[in-house]
């Protein structure tokens, strides 16, 4: 967050965001591991009184005093442990606090990313220097601690959502998820439905199970599902081999550098007596083989930073962490405790080739600090979970992507930046990666939009972010996927990468009401009991005379799952004017083999709030099962572009 506001163009939004109370009246509830309230990111200087509508509380614990913790920035802090303790036994008070205090770091990182105050002149171990700030610096934060060292449980999460809505949160941010289950069985989807119905926007992380297909969490259409991309910043640390070759890696190591002359170099798999010694698992390296050497470890199974500790404990001088096919070219920087760098699969294979061919291999690592302006950026992170949605393939997920790789934000004082027990360091900030990091970026942006447009529904706010997202670099092709090195697809990035300056003035939105979602549930053939679990409406029944279709949900993106036989699918959409009067014209970029017909092709809006319908018909000939194709539909009045991705799959 010393770079993402600029990367997102937030420095260009100042004129668009009203400085009225509407922006600072938004309270974002962050359900996570709690908060370390002493961090400067929670400084409330310059903020007005706590919104009068706020009904939350600052719950106390032995190590969490409300008078010292909560203020006009951190307006609420609660913890929910009854479900956890019922399942796992009493909280181990020697390891974590039965209070909102964050002993993990994750919750402090996410909440400060959402709405942390600006903290100038910060860095992480000398890296990523700048002013750290949340995406909505004027919004307020309320933390709901629902995750403990042993996990996060549905009964606690639902209780926290229950309370957060009662307290008056306008946005909920959840950087957590479970497997895939039907919406009425998913505690988060259940809570989010009622939240949406009460005007609360809910954003959730998509998950880190990529790059495999259909690996998403939190896919309910009333949730904003957020994938992760990189930003234009990197932390290069190059591997220099004695054969003259050098390979680019990344690292956040900060400490005593390696000697200037190359050191002996060994593959971990050749310094062990165990079959998985190449992974540098605890206790697997032979000290007499690795002492004083740089060790190449393969990525996988155990934590990346733990591998460094294993090398260090065995007497190694440094580590090169090599990706395998599972991670490809994705590089995640870590604050290793010994000189270390991470390299991609291609570099890793080349380095191994040198290791196996040279009888006396030597190497060193050159740490290059922080580099900005990296291109191309963003690229989709390999770990970011991918669509299509396994629950409803006709709803395109994830919805969009945001920065989630190497993100600097505030950190707990309980553990070091690696989270390892062996890490004695304590830092105000940390750099970590995940869709957990991209989700709070979007939550902060949702708060910005809600503050700028307090009368917009959750559906309209989400639509504004989605239809203004970009899917291509300026004049330079589609956003890339680091997992493949090729152009990513809407199954990877949804509508694309968020563009908040444009989202503040989207022109048109695809609005969605609770009634629309109920029709959607009817289209899924949900029973009245299942609908009641989600909606709390015990007397709601679907109209047997009405032909409900999932394709009628007024979603800002299109996913069409064709049967293998040639077929035609028709979607109906409604656009609402949220800008000046004008005429919008449709343009379609359709993939080969799919005919796309939009009717009408022009829509004229003469008043604010005016709604216009259109239909789009997709026709295709038979295609092999498993085929996919993509396109884009745009409505433009020359000033605005209201874009929707089209994703086609043949089952």
């Amino acid at each position: 967050t010393t770079r993402t506001p600029e990367f997102l163009g937030l420095d260009r939004t100042e004129g668009f965001i009203p400085q009225s109370n509407t922006t600072s009246d938004v309270v974002v509830g962050v359900l996570d591991t709690g908060v370390w309230p002493e961090r400067k990111s929670y400084d409330d200087a310059g903020l007005g009184p706590v919104p009068a509508s706020w009904k939350g509380a600052c719950e106390e614990g032995k190590d969490f005093k409300a008078a010292n913790a909560c203020n006009r920035k951190l307006v609420g802090a609660r913890f929910f442990s009854q479900g956890y303790e019922a399942r796992m036994g009493p909280i181990n008070l020697t390891r974590e606090s039965r209070s909102p205090r964050d002993n993990d770091g994750h919750g402090t990182h996410t909440s400060s990313t959402v709405a942390g105050s600006a903290v100038p002149d910060v860095d992480f171990l000398g890296y990523a220097a700048g002013t750290a700030r949340g995406m909505s610096t004027r919004a307020r934060i309320a933390v709901y601690k629902v995750c403990w060292l042993g996990g996060c449980f549905g009964s606690d999460i639902l209780a926290a959502m229950d309370k957060a809505i009662e307290d008056g949160c306008g946005v909920l941010s959840l950087s957590l998820g479970g497997g895939m289950s039907d919406y009425y069985r998913d505690n988060i989807a259940v809570g989010a439905f009622s939240a949406m119905a009460m005007g609360v926007v809910v954003s959730c992380s998509a998950g880190n199970a990529g790059p495999g297909a259909s690996t998403l969490s939190n896919v309910a259409p009333w949730i904003t599902t957020v994938g992760a991309g990189t930003l234009d910043r990197d932390f290069p640390a190059n591997v220099l081999l004695s054969n003259g070759k050098n390979y680019t890696g990344v690292s956040l190591y900060s400490g005593k550098p390696l000697p200037s002359s190359p050191l002996p170099f060994i593959y971990a798999g050749n310094a062990t007596n165990t079959t998985n010694g190449n992974l540098c698992m605890t206790g697997t390296l032979l000290p007499d083989k690795v002492a004083g050497k740089i060790v190449l470890c393969d990525r996988g199974i155990n934590a990346r930073v733990q591998k460094g500790s294993v090398v260090r404990d065995a007497g190694g001088a440094g580590m090169i962490l090599a990706n395998t096919a599972a991670n490809g070219e994705e590089l995640v920087a870590d604050a290793h405790l010994l000189p270390a760098t991470a390299v991609g699969e291609i570099a890793g294979d080349a380095i191994k080739s040198y290791l196996f061919s040279d009888p006396n291999p030597t190497a060193t690592i050159a740490f290059r600090g922080t580099k900005v302006g990296v291109k191309p950026s963003p690229v989709v992170a390999a770990f970011s979970s991918r669509g299509p949605s396994a629950i409803t393939p006709d709803i395109l997920k994830p919805d969009l992507i945001a920065p989630g790789v190497n993100i600097l934000a505030a950190w707990t004082g309980s553990v070091g930046p690696t989270g390892q027990a062996a890490d004695p360091r304590r830092t105000e900030f940390n750099i970590i990666s995940g869709t957990s990091m991209s989700c709070p970026h979007v939550s902060g942006l949702l708060a910005l939009l809600k503050g700028a447009h307090p009368d917009w529904s959750p559906g309209a706010i989400k639509s504004a972010l989605m239809t203004t997202a970009y899917a291509a670099y300026p004049g330079d092709g589609g956003i890339l996927d680091v997992a493949t090195g090729r152009a990513a697809t809407p199954f990877d990035f949804g509508a694309g990468h968020v563009d908040p300056p444009k989202a503040l003035d989207p022109g048109l939105v695809y609005d969605l009401t609770t009634e629309d979602y109920l029709d959607f549930l009817c289209a899924l053939n949900y029973t009245p009991l299942q609908i009641a679990r989600l909606s709390r409406l015990t007397n709601y029944t679907c109209d047997r005379q009405k032909a409900y279709e999932v394709s009628d949900l007024n979603y800002p993106s299109f996913a069409v799952a064709f049967a293998t036989a040639s077929t035609t699918v028709k979607h109906t959409r409604t656009l609402t004017n949220v800008g000046a009067p004008g005429t919008y014209k449709a343009t379609v970029s359709a993939p080969e083999g799919v005919k796309v017909v939009v009717e009408p092709t022009a829509l004229t809006f003469s008043a604010l709030g005016e709604k216009k319908n259109y239909t789009v018909t997709f026709s295709t000939a038979s295609q092999p099962s498993g085929s996919t194709a993509f396109g884009r539909l745009e409505w433009s009045d020359a000033q605005h572009v209201v874009a929707s991705p089209l994703a086609f799959s043949w089952t």
């Binding site: 591991t33 009964s155 259940v190 989010a192």
Partner: protein, 82 residues
């Protein structure tokens, strides 16, 4: 039996509370008591859901599903940080 217990979220039809009860919490308590002598309510939900959570055996959960006013009984899911 305690070892077999799981946490369930019991969704209730708030509008179907019998008139004998003055508060929903009392109704939830009575419903729970009717299927288990020992179970206690972990949370009562009132904003994003109507109902409660409690530790139940599978047999108790099935019995709960048949109680009047019960919309559904779901085993809670476990989630992880992303």
């Amino acid at each position: 039996a305690a070892a077999k217990k799981r946490t369930y979220i019991v969704h209730m039809a708030k509008s179907q509370m019998p008139p004998a009860f003055a508060e929903h919490r009392h109704w939830y308590d009575a419903s729970l008591r009717s299927v288990s002598d020992t179970a206690e309510i972990l949370y009562a939900y009132d904003t994003v859901a109507h109902g409660f959570s409690a530790r139940l055996t599978p047999a108790e959960a099935r019995a709960m599903e048949r109680r009047p006013g019960v919309l559904g009984v779901m085993a809670e899911a476990r989630y992880e940080l992303h």
